[in-house]
Amino acid sequence: MINDKNSQKIVDIIQNWARKQSIWVLAYGTGCGAIEIPPTMTSRYDAERLGVRGAATPRQADVLLITGYLTTKTLKRVIRVYEQMQDPKYVIGFGSCTINGGMYYDSYNTIKVLDKYLPVDVYINGCMPRPESVLAGFGKLQELIGNGEANGATKYKENLEWYRANQKKIIPNWVMPEYNW
């Protein structure tokens, strides 16, 4: 009874509902986009009514929000942060810079496509996205979580070699602890 498939399904449905109603965000304020986070959280747009709330450390967070361009230097820290987060975890790429490099498409020291280095669940485009679109992005993520389709973390685990190879191309001196889930 405890381990059979149907009861697991019911537990999953309840858990997915709870996960989508309670999203703790670790906003990694990399680029200019971080300036849109305060209006999203405060009285005008009030993301807390959707259960979206800031988390202080990666250990407590569910969502890693990459707000804009990532320099090759910060990529290392972001990977470190992502790997410290506890499952289930999701990544939101915020702004055009995370999608295709945006206006930094020919820069020598930013990464262009975030999805090559971390598994992105939802992209929010715009340079920079307004709080409305940020909320729409959270709505999309909630929908994906509710349907059990936000499985970026599983993708990362399965294709760890591919991601590692990409990451090591950018970060030559790789001195990081091993990922132990």
């Binding site: 709870a18 009030d46 450390t57 990666p58 250990r59």
Partner: protein
Amino acid sequence: MELLTHILGAIATVILAFVVGMSYGGIVRKITARVHNRIGPPWYQNFIDAFKLYGKTTAIHHGWMQIMGPAFLMVSSVVTLMFIPVLTNGGWFPNLNFEGDLIFLLYLMVFGPLGMALGAGQTGNPNSAIGVTRGLSQMVGFEIPWVMALVALMIQFDTTSITGLMEAQAQSGTWNMFSSPFAFIAAVLAMLGMFRYSPFDIVGAPTELASGPVSENGGKYLFTMMSSGSIFAFVKLTLYVDIFMGGADNLVILLLKTFSIYMIPVLYGIVSPRYRTEQAIRFFWGWPLFFGVLALIYASIF
């Protein structure tokens, strides 16, 4: 049979404390949001958060003391709950009262935070260490007026038990809040620090210390801390109601009284920014200490 009712009563009390504490937390988030002119999360948001935290994997292991830290917190909250008379007439609530339990409680209430401090120390996160030192300094600050208020009550009514204080209030017909006002003021000012809302949220300052002692704890650790925190909030509120507001005859009155006294630190906190550590300690050693001394003088003269 009697043992069974005691055990069932104890379990029911823990569940009651958990539910009430969590709902209060949610209502506080709602009130805070309304003061900020936001809509705010629903009042049951804390339950969802707790459930989600429980469902997360917890692959953080820094050593045994880290696991013991949240366990210490939980144990101290539950044990303290067992010593607090929830209702005046007992009922099915467990009541392990004995002569001198007020002094015992003073020790027991710092047991959890100390265990947590050890646990946070083992995570090796510098933010945790800073949070712990801040928390212990703040505790040194507010414990002094708090102890003075309690000692004043003990002198005034010649008893060291909570039930004794409640009986004294029932006999005289006035709440201790009015018969020993200075002790009440000192205790309420100490309560501001005890609940750690702004301006005394220096321990877990999220933007400054990345939530301090809990910064390395996610998932089930955080769930344990959150639920023990809720239980402990209920314990403290009930203790205040018991010793200053004459206890409560039934659950509705208990909820009314605890909620109204809870609003003091909450509303004061919403409109205040955060103190620095030394400012917080200076605050507690100022007016609260003064009222504590007044309470002692008042108690020994009258």
